[in-house]
Symmetry: C2
Subunit: 138 residues, 2 copies
């Protein structure tokens, strides 16, 4: 699997393209000399862990014939400096589901994702504590 | 730092928004039941490590008054299954620079990034071997 990036302009922004032909822009924040034109590399890790577990939860709840009307995820990260770099010391996810969904099933799906299936969670879990809450609105 | 995701449609795609107001779509591939509408969560890790180190390299070469005309990065990942999830076992980056750039300076910048500065490389490095090559066209 190969992804290609190309610097755009004279600053820090790059455009990335995946094999499926999708494109996205990454950049650094204005505070770090960038222009905030896209997601930062560290933000991509938060999107990755939220997206990966969100996809798992949809998968599991679909198999259990739960009817999802809407699904929003908030993901917050707390950084910690380590020498010259930094990690996400703590990541907190909030899964907000609406639909004909059994709350225990949704909580079990989120647990299963982080314990067994979500590759991004397993990878980032080496340096981050990952917490989550689940709310279901019927 | 908070990022919000919202499921779009009835399948696996989510749209993410960062505090700067940028948006991106994530999805799974058609092979996994998705529609390939965006980057997959695991692809985001590759974009993250390429972007993070690319930004570092631009930073360092700018300080050294090297003149970058263009900068492309190829990043390839090799997956390995571990129980029910998978990791990027090996990630290979190819930094392709054009400009009035000293090749040793560019190689040193790439090394410094992965050894000291690039947070995403440090985080993913717990489960991935990360290799890179640098080419400079004057």
């Amino acid at each position: 699997m190969k992804i290609e990036l190309k610097r755009t302009g004279d600053n820090f922004a790059f455009e990335a393209a995946n094999p499926e032909g999708n494109k996205m822009v990454i950049d650094t924040s204005a505070a770090n000399g960038g222009e905030g034109k896209g997601f930062s590399p560290m933000q991509l890790l938060l999107v990755g862990v939220a997206g990966c577990s969100g996809i798992d939860i949809v998968h599991i709840l679909k198999k259990q014939r739960q009817e999802i009307i809407s699904f929003e995820i908030e993901v917050e990260g707390l950084r910690e400096k380590v020498e010259e770099y930094s990690i996400w010391k703590e990541i907190t996810l909030h899964y907000k589901l609406k639909g004909k969904i059994d709350k225990e099933k949704a909580e079990r799906a989120a647990s299963l994702s982080h314990e067994k299936y979500c590759s991004v969670s397993k990878i980032i879990g080496h340096t981050s504590k990952i917490n989550f809450t689940v709310t279901v609105e019927n």
